[in-house]
């Protein structure tokens, strides 16, 4: 587990204080219910995707976000719909959190014409201009300069908006990440770099892939401030995000948020996960699960009872079932689609 010698917030999933919330973080019931529902949607969606992969309905690579839900839900809660988001290939959760239709996402996973990319992109390559979600990128690290370019355009057009640029601990050693940090700092671009540190770049633990494991410090040489946060606690994520959003909107340039998180599933569906113990995974699930943390807060607060949460569970299940059904029944793309969308007709 990474050492948590943080600059602003000391945290890592391993050192967080269990599932009980620190009393000093307050959120309204409404807010908590929103987080609960959003995170549960991602969790159930991903579980269904895993199941459908097993049934052969989804092919290729499929990287599940289970365990990391608090990161994207907390971050997206701190920005507006006009702000842009971009991430790498573990992207289903981001799309749902950006408000994309679960049916279209699932149908893209099954490679059907009802998918966001009409079946031509797959799990790693989905986009929605409407929801300001700019992918879904399959090349580790490549989305970081692209996300920086989105922020460049926002500044150029003087929109007042910002970009959330998500990537994992596996991407932080790519050279182009630093090229992007440098330009963003040089030109004070409105971008928040969210490092989702789930402790493993595929099967290589952070201790084995990074000489400097405090990833929030990776912008120090360019003067990009950073902080480290318990990414399993959605309220902590939201709090850190609020600070970063203010920093960026005030025109101070980029900021790095390192979110200490954990994926319960393998890197992809074909990952035997021999690089970590079952105990490690189980301990994380038992003590730090992001959804369970919010559930406890809601129940402990007394304003919501088990029955109300069960209702939400049911609603979410229905949404996911509907998405799965749509994705199963949507036809494959017409063969004529093979040659469309290669170029925009001038």
């Amino acid at each position: 587990m990474a050492k948590a010698a943080a600059k602003r917030t000391k945290a890592s999933p391993g050192t967080a204080k269990g599932a009980r919330a620190p009393a000093n973080r307050q959120a309204s019931t409404e807010e908590l219910l929103h987080y609960y529902k959003e995170m549960l949607l991602i969790r159930r969606f991903e579980e269904k995707a895993g199941q459908m992969y097993g049934m052969g309905l989804i092919g290729g690579f499929c990287h599940l976000y289970i365990g990391q839900e608090a990161v994207v839900v907390g971050l997206q809660a701190a920005v507006t719909e006009a702000d842009a988001s971009i991430t790498t290939y573990r992207d289903h959760g981001h799309m749902l959190a950006c408000g994309m239709d679960p049916k279209g996402v699932m149908a893209e996973l099954t490679g059907r014409r009802g998918g966001y990319s009409r079946g031509k992109g797959g799990s790693m390559h989905m986009f929605s201009r409407e929801k300001k979600f700019f992918g879904g990128h399959g090349i580790v690290g490549a989305s970081v300069p692209i996300g920086t370019g989105l922020a460049f355009a926002q500044r150029y057009l003087d929109t007042g908006e910002l970009t959330l640029c998500y990537f994992g601990d596996g991407a932080v050693n790519q050279g182009q990440v630093y090229e992007a940090f440098n330009m963003a700092a040089l030109w004070k671009l409105p971008v928040i770099y969210v490092i989702e540190n789930n402790q493993y770049g595929m099967g290589t633990s952070i201790q084995r892939h990074s000489a400097q494991t405090e990833l929030f410090r990776r912008g120090e040489s360019m003067g990009v401030p950073g902080s480290q946060t318990d990414g399993m606690d959605v309220l902590a994520v939201k709090e850190a995000a609020d600070v970063a959003v203010k920093h960026v909107r005030d025109g101070n340039g980029p900021m790095i948020l390192e979110m200490m998180t954990y994926r319960y599933r393998g890197h992809s569906m074909s990952d035997p996960a021999k690089y970590r113990s079952k105990e490690e995974v189980n301990k994380m699930r038992a003590e730090h699960d992001p959804i369970e943390q919010v559930r406890r807060r809601l129940l402990d607060g007394g304003s919501v009872d088990e029955a109300a949460l069960k209702d939400i569970d049911k609603q979410v299940k229905a949404v996911v079932s509907e998405a799965a059904e749509f994705a199963t029944n949507s036809p494959e793309p017409d063969p004529s689609e093979l040659y469309t969308d290669v170029l925009v007709e001038a």
Binding site: A84, I86, G115, Y116, S117, R118, G119, K120, G121, G122, H125, M126, F127, S128, R129, F134, G135, G136, H137, G138, I139, A142, V144, P145, I146, G147, T148, G149, L150, A151, F152, A153, Q154, Y156, L157, G175, Q176, Y178, E179, A180, N182, M183, L186, T340, D341, V342, L343, V344, A346
Partner: protein, 463 residues
């Protein structure tokens, strides 16, 4: 013996320059390291230092004289103990201006062997079919044509901006962006750090968001650092997004061999990018095409790889004086009509093909020369129409032959015009080696006029 001060070569491709200013006068004593004069090249104004000690005996080329060929004596220094009478022993004033490079500046003598010495022959065919007859023409360099194209498009569309290394304050490493910073300001003409991968990706992101970036690579050799962003991000995302995420971006810069810059700086990427669906690839030869195609590239909603050639930058040509002159991407041009053999080239090889055609004409072979102008889409219709007329074809490229542009042309002809061929297609190309530095080896590595002539004679079954 008095010492001659020669016009220096200040860049790999310089063949001539302007003697902008003398900082010494006759009779001045100079020591080594003193600045003698300022020389203006096509890229920059440079100071020339004395490498010897002595007295300036005579200034041979006056201030302000243009087109002074490299190696022309520009002054004479008298060594200690010599007087003016010694001047008679050395060369009389050289002819001040010359359009031709000095003989000493070419060939294998260790000086600049620049193929820029190739003078484009006037084309016997009208400049551009789409240009109305009687249109007034201006003679400008390829460099100016590219700059004008960017300036016009930037005036026309606020979302167009230029970024790259040294494009702003330095005015362009090859002076292509000269004046653009002054006109458009630092918001739209942006100096980047030396981070090709990063700024190519940043440009792609800006294009996804709706801007129209022009990303200049100082040369395409450096774009290899960025090729993942060009191919995986710029070219493929439209398809991967089911048509949602267009990427209107131009990647431009000099491509191919310059002169004596050796293996890592002398490479043609036409075949590399020509291979990629989702890209358009353009490589103009003439000034008019440089302007018209760059304007089209900037307006194109797709990523366009725009391959320039450093040696062509300084060459002049006629450009139509029209308010909005564009050349369509994907259309080749027959630059010389002929009936016996088709020679297909692009970029700098078009000039050599034209020269080869002139040499062939003297031997009774009437060659047709096609300037491809675009590599992707490739205008196979124009090639096939020509081959159906001449029944013979030679392709010319500076790039390597294996899996190259000529291979693609030959295969296309075989597939669609096989029955019209009277001889196998011949490919003239760069030698299958990394580019050597030595002048004689570099010349051997690049397709020369004689190689094209020999290939054209071979396909014509003429010895």
């Amino acid at each position: 013996m008095p010492i001659q001060v020669l016009m220096p070569a200040l860049s790999p491709t310089m063949t001539e320059g302007t003697l902008a200013k003398w900082l010494v006068k006759e009779g001045d004593t100079v020591s080594s390291g003193d600045i003698l004069a300022e020389i203006e090249t096509d890229k920059a104004t440079m100071e020339v230092e004395s490498i010897d000690e002595g007295v300036v005996g005579r200034i041979l080329v006056a201030e302000g004289v243009e087109e002074v060929a490299v190696n022309t004596p520009i002054a004479v220094l008298l060594e200690e103990g010599e007087d003016a009478s010694a001047l008679d022993a050395v060369a009389t004033p050289a002819p001040a201006a010359s359009a031709e490079p000095a003989p000493a500046a070419t060939g294998g003598n260790g000086m600049d062997p620049s193929p820029a010495a190739v003078v484009p022959s006037p084309s016997p065919v009208a400049a551009e079919p789409d240009v109305p007859a009687g249109t007034e023409m201006a003679t400008i360099t390829v460099r100016e044509a590219l700059r004008d194209a960017m300036a016009e498009e930037m005036r026309h569309d606020d979302t167009v901006f230029l970024m790259g290394e040294e494009v702003a304050e330095y005015q362009g490493a090859y002076k292509i962006s000269q004046g653009l910073l002054d006109e458009f300001g630092a918001k739209r003409v942006i100096d980047t750090p030396i981070t090709e991968h990063g700024f190519a990706g940043l440009g792609v992101g800006a294009a996804f968001y709706g801007l129209r970036p022009i990303v200049e690579f100082m040369t395409f050799n450096f774009a290899m650092q960025a090729i993942d962003q060009i191919i995986n991000s710029a070219a493929k995302t439209l398809y991967m997004s089911g048509g949602q995420m267009g990427c209107p971006i131009v990647f431009r810069g000099p491509n191919g061999a310059a002169s004596r810059v050796a293996a890592q700086h002398s490479q043609c990427y036409a075949a590399w990018y020509g291979h990629i669906p989702g890209l358009k690839v353009v490589a103009p030869y003439s000034a008019a095409d440089a302007k018209g195609l760059l304007k089209s590239a900037i307006r194109d909603p797709n990523p366009v790889v725009f391959l320039e050639n450093e040696i062509l930058y300084g060459q002049s040509g006629e450009v139509p004086l029209l308010d909005d002159f564009t050349v369509p991407i994907g259309k080749a041009r027959v630059v010389r009509e002929g009936s016996d053999v088709t020679i297909v080239g692009y970029s700098i090889t078009v000039g050599r093909a034209i020269e080869a055609a002139a040499a062939l004409a003297e031997q009774g072979i009437d060659a047709e020369v096609i300037d491809l102008r675009s590599l992707r889409p490739l205008d196979t219709a124009t090639i096939m129409a020509s081959v159906q007329k001449t029944n013979r074809c030679v392709s010319v490229e500076e790039g390597w032959q294996k899996f190259g542009v000529g291979s693609e042309i030959a295969a296309s002809i075989m597939e669609t015009a096989f029955d019209w061929l009277d001889a196998p297609v011949q490919r003239v190309s760069g030698a299958d080696v990394p580019m050597p530095y030595a002048a004689n080896l570099e010349k051997l590595a690049l397709p020369q006029v004689e190689d094209i002539v020999a290939a054209a004679k071979a396909v014509s079954y003429r010895a």
